[in-house]
């Protein structure tokens, strides 16, 4: 299973190209990708930046569990789940999920399952910094 899963939790910039290159495979007809970006507002309040912190060893374990489940449930080929920690500005990328599959339906479902589950279970916390402090 190990060569089907690429988990990354780092301080620094995530790379869409790296995720794409990892999952792309000549046996696959479709790749679905999700990129989360930092929005400039939350419920109408202007956001200046976000700070992400994690319980790192457990976060990596949980991301790996999500990948294993996605492979098991949807029969996908490969999956990359990358998340950033530390400070992120507006428009920057806290999370990328990339999935390849012989068929696109499975790729979409697995990609959506992975981001939905990540937001529920992976021990990462964001702190929002607003204009007015």
């Amino acid at each position: 299973m190990e060569n089907k899963i690429f988990i990354k939790l780092i301080e620094g910039e995530l790379s869409l190209g790296e995720c794409y290159e990892y999952v792309q495979d000549d046996s696959c007809g479709g790749l679905a990708l999700f990129v989360g970006t930092v929005r400039n507002n939350t419920k109408g309040k202007e956001v200046l930046k976000l700070q992400f912190s994690a319980y790192e060893p457990m976060a990596v374990k949980e991301m790996n569990l999500i990948a294993l489940k996605a492979i098991d449930m949807f029969g996908i080929h490969k999956i990359a789940i990358h998340h950033a920690v530390g400070n992120l500005g507006i428009g920057e990328v806290p999370v990328i999920i990339a999935v390849s599959s012989a068929h696109r339906e499975a790729a979409f479902k697995a990609c959506q399952f992975a981001i939905d589950t990540l937001k529920e279970t992976v021990p990462i916390w964001k702190k929002e910094f607003f204009e007015d402090g």
Binding site: G36, F52, S53, A54, Y55, P57, M58, A59, K61, H83, P94, V95, I115, L118, K119, E120, T121, V122, P123, I124, W125, K126
Partner: protein
């Protein structure tokens, strides 16, 4: 037995420090540990809900803690 407790997110502000070492009797479940936590740190009753992980995995309420376990207090996550 000695239990190391790690606090994350908002729970770290409530605990005031992390980690905190707890000296507990044998036979303490995760559920019992929650009660001890709220008793020692009344501010924790302000947290709507929090999950508990034991040795880096989410734990059932009935799980018995063992000596040298690492317990983590996981308030609602907000990654992604």
């Amino acid at each position: 037995m000695k239990i190391e407790a790690l606090f994350f997110g908002m729970s770290r502000d409530l605990a005031g420090q992390s980690p905190i070492i707890f000296e507990l009797d044998e036979g303490v479940t995760v559920k019992k540990f929650r009660e001890i936590l709220v008793k020692n740190y009344p501010l924790f009753s302000e947290l709507d809900s929090f999950a508990i992980a034991v040795n880096e995995s989410y734990a059932e309420e009935e799980l018995l803690l063992s000596d040298k376990d690492t317990v983590a207090i996981i308030p609602p996550v907000s990654g992604g």
